[in-house]
């Protein structure tokens, strides 16, 4: 994180929710083409409060409520972007993006390509994602692999308030369509998978210190969350903190890389780390088969084969729909992640 802390600005404690709201506030202020809409994001300020107060400040033609129609929200945003606006739209839960799939995959992602640059879709689609909140099947999914597979999209996921604000500003400013996934488990505080322990708020965490003003965290740049020598962990979102807990509890000196931008990604940082440690564990909440971890494992295998001293491990959600009662048997917690660290370290 060292590289990003050189910003000259007053910092204040923010939750991820406040940091995201601050990013949108700043971009509404700076760029008159930025508009924000989605279900309940206007007057009410969003079911997670991420857009609270923005309509009152910027008016209903800049920040407004939308009908319950994901395809309509994204489709209208594509049209606005073609006009020249810079829409930032919200899908209430990542689990509900599917009705907008056609507009995301066939339209937003391909508009620049198919029109040879005549029309573009500079837009950001925010989606709260991830589990660990007893959200059951349709409030817990991590659909990132469905986006990373689509050429023309950028997929981004922050793990803390500082990155959330800087990455969201960078995403809004980016001229490509960005899928901005927000782990709702991290909205109010970091979460390491120990659900039986009280949640610590962001105000007690250094990454909850966020500059009040404008700054960006560049896309396609990973962050080394915890430097280490024994193995490399490739992860993002909530699993950054779970992996850190696993390192702490196993005593294994893991280098934890928070990818931040899932695709296109920061391959250089990944390869340098794995070449150094010789071992790699991929950790994500999403289901295993054809999940984003498969791409990460393939990349590491292609680029670091002669440096690898053990098979690449993947710790992920099981290949089942996200259950309700079995939340903690499903969610890859520190024990499962720690066990994978040990396997990777003990392998010869």
């Amino acid at each position: 994180m060292a590289a990003q802390k050189d910003v000259k600005s007053e910092t204040i404690p923010m939750t991820m929710i406040q940091a995201l709201r601050s990013a949108m506030d700043i971009m509404l202020e700076r760029d008159s083409n930025v508009v924000i809409f989605g279900e309940d994001v206007g007057f009410f300020g969003g079911v997670f409060r991420c857009t609270d107060g923005l309509q009152a400040k910027y008016g209903p033609s800049r920040v407004f409520d939308a009908p319950i129609s994901e395809g309509g929200i994204v489709g209208a945003a594509v049209g606005m972007a073609a006009y020249g606006l810079r829409p930032v739209v919200e899908i209430q839960f990542a689990d509900y993006f599917y009705p907008a799939s056609d507009q995301i995959v066939s339209e937003a992602a391909r508009l620049r390509y198919r029109s040879a640059g005549e029309f573009t879709a500079s837009m950001t689609i925010r989606m709260p994602c991830g589990g660990g909140i007893y959200g059951g099947q349709t409030h817990s999914q991590s659909p990132e692999a469905l986006f990373t597979h689509v050429c023309g999209l950028r997929t981004v996921m922050p793990s803390n308030p500082y990155d959330a604000k800087g990455l969201l500003i960078a995403s809004i400013e980016n001229d490509d369509p960005v899928i901005f996934l927000e782990p709702k488990r991290l909205y109010n505080g970091p979460f390491d998978g120990h659900h039986d322990q009280p949640v610590v708020p962001w105000s007690k965490h250094p990454l909850g210190e966020v500059p009040e003003g404008y700054y960006t965290v560049p896309l396609e740049s990973a962050a080394i969350y915890r430097p280490g020598a024994e193995l490399t962990v490739l992860t993002y979102g909530t699993m950054v903190f779970v992996s850190a807990a696993a390192a702490r509890e196993t005593g294994i000196d893991a280098e934890i890389i928070d990818l931040r931008s899932l695709w296109p990604l920061d391959l250089e940082t990944i390869v340098a780390s794995v070449k150094k440690t010789g071992r790699c564990v991929v950790v994500h909440e999403a289901t295993r088969t054809s999940g984003f971890g498969a791409e990460l494992a393939a990349l590491v295998q292609e680029h670091c084969f002669y440096h690898l001293e053990a098979p690449i491990e993947r710790v992920t959600g099981w290949d089942t729909p996200y259950p309700h009662a079995q939340e903690w048997a499903y969610f890859p917690g520190p024990d499962r992640v720690g066990a994978a660290f040990k396997r990777a370290l003990e392998a010869r």
Binding site: V35, S61, R62, A66, P67, S69, G71, G72, G75, A76, A77, V78, G79, M80, A82, Y83, G84, L85, P99, D102, Q103, S106, E107, R110, L111, R112, Y113, R114, S115, A116, G117, E118, F119, T120, C151, G152, R154, N174, D175, D176, E220, P264, L267
Partner: protein, 410 residues
């Protein structure tokens, strides 16, 4: 318990099939001039009758009659006539080129030329159309260079889309013609978003959305109507009902015993059902809807009744699912023949001029084709460089695409 007969599934069928004539009485035609012209500020619910009626201006003798018969400048009518003829001649020529394997695919708009042509002439510079693959008449009315279009069809070295798109899927921003997608109906809601953007910025431009009868069954048709109504977007929602979606008759899209215009009423949108082969009716209705939108009076849905006279595409053989001579029985006739009759009647056209224009336009298309072929054809292999294949996926080429381009060795 009462005795019930077993239920049966209703699967709509067209009355006409190969070897069996179509009964067109389902169209419920009105006499020319019989349908009222409401004021621009009409309430959507007060257009209910119009959604089941049929706005027509030209009568069987080619006279312009009734409240929709506007005083249209003769030069504009002649311009429309030329654009319709150009569209048809262009289509015919491109079908030949496809048969000669100079291009891989083509889609005609035979019989539907009036709709895009008259509509384009009723719009203003800066308005944006969101067309389907069968609105090439918009391009002809806006005088887009034929060479550019043919280069796109040939995917050659001068193709503005750099060989990335199937033939016919044009994009001509300068002419207010949005990039065509193969995915049906997606552009209908995008047009609404574009109109909303114009309203957000306090602009005066309007959007024009296009969809076919078959594609109204797609969910984006519904989202477009809802958003257009909710936000009172400055947009014209055009449904081109040519009776056919490839092999399926419009009743299979939900047209049985109702109209597509009626959908607009249900969504609170002022709606019209208009003779799509009547150039004067198309122009008048388009003007009405455009003025409504531009005056901030909200969206209008227009169902254009026409007939898909040609095959769905060069990959289609309509004789397998409908009568071969169906078009000759379609009660609304041929848009070019009908405007021709009217223009001659008012002394603005002649048989001789028609023939001369036909010859001139044919020569124009042939010359454009020759010029376009100088830059290559798909068959000749003179296509845009494979290196360009990796461009424009993102604004700036990411590292993985640079690497893939190197792997291809280009």
């Amino acid at each position: 318990m009462s005795q019930c007969k077993p239920l049966t599934l209703h699967v709509p069928e067209p009355s006409g099939r190969p070897g069996h004539e179509t009964d067109f009485s389902y169209l419920h035609l009105a006499e020319a001039g019989a349908v009222r012209r409401p004021p621009l500020e009409v309430l959507p619910s007060d257009t209910s009758d119009l959604a089941y009626a049929l706005v027509r201006v030209l009568d069987d003798d080619g006279n312009a009659v009734g409240p929709w018969a506007a005083d249209i400048d003769r030069e504009l009518l002649r311009r429309g006539m030329r654009a319709m003829m150009k569209t048809r001649i262009f289509d015919a020529r491109m079908v030949i080129a496809q048969r000669q394997k100079k291009m891989s695919f083509y889609m005609q708009s035979l019989g539907e030329e009036a709709i895009g042509t008259a509509h384009a002439l009723a719009l203003q510079e800066g308005d944006m159309c969101f067309p389907t693959y069968r609105q090439q008449s918009l391009l002809m009315a806006r005088d887009v260079p034929l060479v550019d279009l043919i280069c796109q069809l040939l995917s050659n070295q001068r193709d503005p889309m750099k060989g990335r798109q199937l033939p016919v899927l044009y994009s001509v921003r300068a002419a207010g013609f949005f990039s065509i997608s193969g995915n049906l109906a997606t552009q209908f809601i995008q047009a609404v978003g574009w109109g909303m953007a114009s309203a957000i910025k306090g602009d005066t431009k309007i959007a024009s959305a296009w969809i076919g009868d078959g594609s109204t069954a797609e969910s984006d048709f519904h989202t477009a109507l809802t958003f257009a109504h909710v936000y009172q977007a400055p947009v014209i929602l055009n449904v081109v009902n040519n009776q056919w979606a490839i092999s399926t008759f419009q009743t299979l899209a939900g047209g049985e015993s109702t109209t597509f215009a009626a959908r607009g009423i249900g969504c609170g949108i002022a709606s019209l059902r208009v003779d799509g082969n009547d150039f004067l009716a198309v122009y008048a209705a388009s003007r009405w809807a455009a003025e409504r939108a531009r005056s901030n009076l909200g969206p209008t849905l227009i169902e254009w009744i026409t007939y898909r006279a040609g095959p769905h595409s060069t990959s289609d053989d309509p004789s397998k699912y409908r009568p071969a001579d169906d078009w000759s029985h379609f009660p609304l006739g041929d848009p070019i023949a009908r405007l021709k009759q009217h223009l001659i009647r008012i002394g603005a056209w002649s048989e001789q001029e028609h023939q001369d224009t036909e010859k001139e336009l044919e020569a124009q298309v042939i010359a454009a084709q020759k010029e376009a072929e100088r830059y290559g054809t798909l068959a000749s292999g003179q296509i845009p460089s494979p290196a360009t294949m990796f461009e424009d996926v993102y604004k700036d080429m990411p590292e993985h695409l640079r690497q893939q381009r190197r792997q291809l060795g280009v």
